[in-house]
Amino acid sequence: MAKVVFKLGDDISTDIIYPGRFMATVLPSETPQYAFADNADFNAKVRKKEFAPGSVIVAGKNFGCGSSREQAASCLKGPDFVVVARNFARIFLQNSINLGLKMVICPDIEANEADELEIGAERVVNKSSGKSFAVTPLPKARQAIIDAGGLIPFTRKRMEEGKKNQLG
């Protein structure tokens, strides 16, 4: 079970998730302090680590549109949020996969703040409303990166295979 701690609408841009003026901060260990920096209440709670790991952000369509800044994914990965959205913008989706940020594509999701969700591979069940919603699985190619633990280990594996081929 996971609690919805933040509910957002459609087209939440990376400028909202991680405002451009904080882009000089790049390290994943340092970015969470600026998550949703223009929302003073939510940001303060992130800074005070008030959210349990696995807390859910629910959003509408096109979450993470706009800039390719990876800080928008790493700032949510740090506090171990799960993002459940109707769909995601391409670069944000890829960045999340590469960094291991948990996200769920759930085209019909309906949930409000404080709702408890049960997130499975095929369905998200909103325990508070009793409704259940289908999950769109990630394309196979992307799942391979998640299974490897992110793009860094996935790339490392690829380099080792390359080295073996050269030796062989």
């Binding site: 909202i16 860094i152 690829r158």
Partner: protein, 430 residues
């Protein structure tokens, strides 16, 4: 099998005869571009090699381009530190396509790449910037990626797990009316498609109005395809592409070109008559909130901005300078201009455009990303309204979530500067 432009490019980059939508590929990369976020790429690149015993060398230092543009000159010691770290890395790795903060060869990455001849038709170009879509203007498959993805490219020279995207074909007929520009075409299209209408897809541009369009205009339309969610925009290369590469980008020798097959399969086809277009305005706070200018004309503007990777090129500055020559920016309105590259700045100086703009009251800033993303000068006050030729109007984009940003062409921006309100250039700015 019949293929679109991007399918052909990906097939070539994977040594395959053909590819189809949904195939998962690992294409070779011809050019890998980063800006100041190269600092994060370096961090992730070193992470890949940590404890492997392998030497952390990039796959090909000649195929990496790094351009400082987002925060130039550095606005803080933190940025200066990042830039220094990148400079050291560039030197150690022997990366040659490096554009530091300079008045002769600096600029915004999406202008430096084309004008330096770094991008050629048929290439696979990736950049750690969402507006990397711009380079489809030269017939390349160019798209934005994150920093960790770039670190992987630096290590392997390939980009892993690329799914062949579906393509939307947009055919543009007719002739643009006076004061209706490529920016109006792309804003109109984004309004039609919505902010996610082209998500995971490519937009391929065709038609007589595209044929007649300069490379500068094609860079505008491809640049903003990402605002409809597109992976990339692309214009099949033609005589204009070859002219630009030879005359403006200094590319020597024969340039190979390719065209999509006549019977290629498209996800959908859209036709637009350029002759029927009117100036378009993207209203706060999403780029797809597009309205014809008559619906927002008269809106009071506090700050006009002309520049960026979208509309900071010589023809944009020329349009603005001709409109503002001998006129004045309205009292109570500020006007900022930032050219897309040092080369363009110098050309505009020699052509007298910079003098025309300054005498009208515009502040001409150094080249760079400047006010567009709200990190470096030109921030807005609470309640301020900006009218900009840039590419995004998201809440907080120009440094303040309590301000509004409207997007438009350079003609609309220049006319509106004189009146201080959003004004239709076709009506003489009244």
């Amino acid at each position: 099998m019949a293929m679109t432009m991007v399918e052909k490019i990906l097939a070539k980059a994977c040594d395959q005869k053909s590819v189809k939508v949904g195939d998962v590929l690992e294409p070779r990369v011809d050019l890998a571009m980063s800006h100041e976020n190269g600092a994060l790429v370096i961090n992730q690149f070193q992470e890949i090699y940590k404890d492997t015993g392998l030497d952390a060398r990039v796959w090909d230092p000649k195929k990496i381009a790094i351009i400082f543009d987002h925060r130039v000159p550095a606005e803080s010691s933190k940025t200066a530190g990042n830039q220094k770290k990148i400079r050291d890395f560039v030197r150690r790795q022997g990366i040659s396509r490096f554009h530091d903060i300079r008045g002769d060869e600096g600029g915004i990455c999406h202008q430096i790449l084309p004008e330096s001849g770094y991008v050629l038709p048929g290439q696979v170009v990736v950049g750690t910037d969402s507006h990397t879509t711009s380079h489809g203007a030269l017939g390349a498959f160019a798209f934005g990626i994150g920093a960790t993805e770039m670190a992987s490219v630096w290590a392997l020279g390939q980009i892993l797990n690329v799914e062949v995207p579906a393509t939307i074909k947009v055919s543009v007929s007719g002739t643009f009316p006076k004061f209706v520009l490529p920016k109006d075409l792309i804003l109109f299209l984004i309004g039609q498609l919505s902010a996610e209408g082209a998500n995971f897809k490519v937009i391929e541009f065709h038609g007589p109005a595209i044929k007649k369009m300069s490379t500068s205009g094609r860079l505008v339309i491809c640049n903003m395809t990402v605002e409809a969610g597109a992976t990339s925009g692309i214009v099949p290369p033609d005589e204009e592409t070859l002219r630009y590469l030879k005359e403006e980008a200094g590319v020597k020798g024969k340039v190979e070109t390719m065209a999509p097959d006549a019977d290629a399969v498209y996800d959908r086809e859209i036709t637009i008559d350029a002759g029927a277009l009117v100036p378009q305005i993207a209203c706060p706070h999403t780029v797809d909130n597009v309205k014809p200018i008559n619906q927002v004309a008269g809106k009071k503007i506090d700050q006009i901005v002309i520049g960026s990777c979208t509309n900071g090129r010589l023809d944009d500055l020329a349009v603005a300078a001709k409109i503002l020559k001998g006129k004045k920016v309205a009292a109570g309105t500020r006007m900022l201009v930032f050219p897309a590259s040092a080369r363009i700045f110098l050309q505009a100086l020699k052509a007298g455009y910079i003098a025309d703009l300054m005498e009208a009251g515009a502040v001409v800033m150094n080249t760079g990303c400047g006010p567009c993303l709200g990190v470096h000068q030109g921030a807005l006050a609470d309640g301020d309204v900006a009218l900009a030729t840039t590419n995004r109007n998201f809440k907080g984009r120009m440094g303040n979530p309590n301000a509004e940003v409207y997007l438009c062409s350079p003609a609309v921006a220049a006319f509106s500067a004189i009146s201080g309100v959003i004004s239709d250039p076709r009506q003489g700015g009244k």
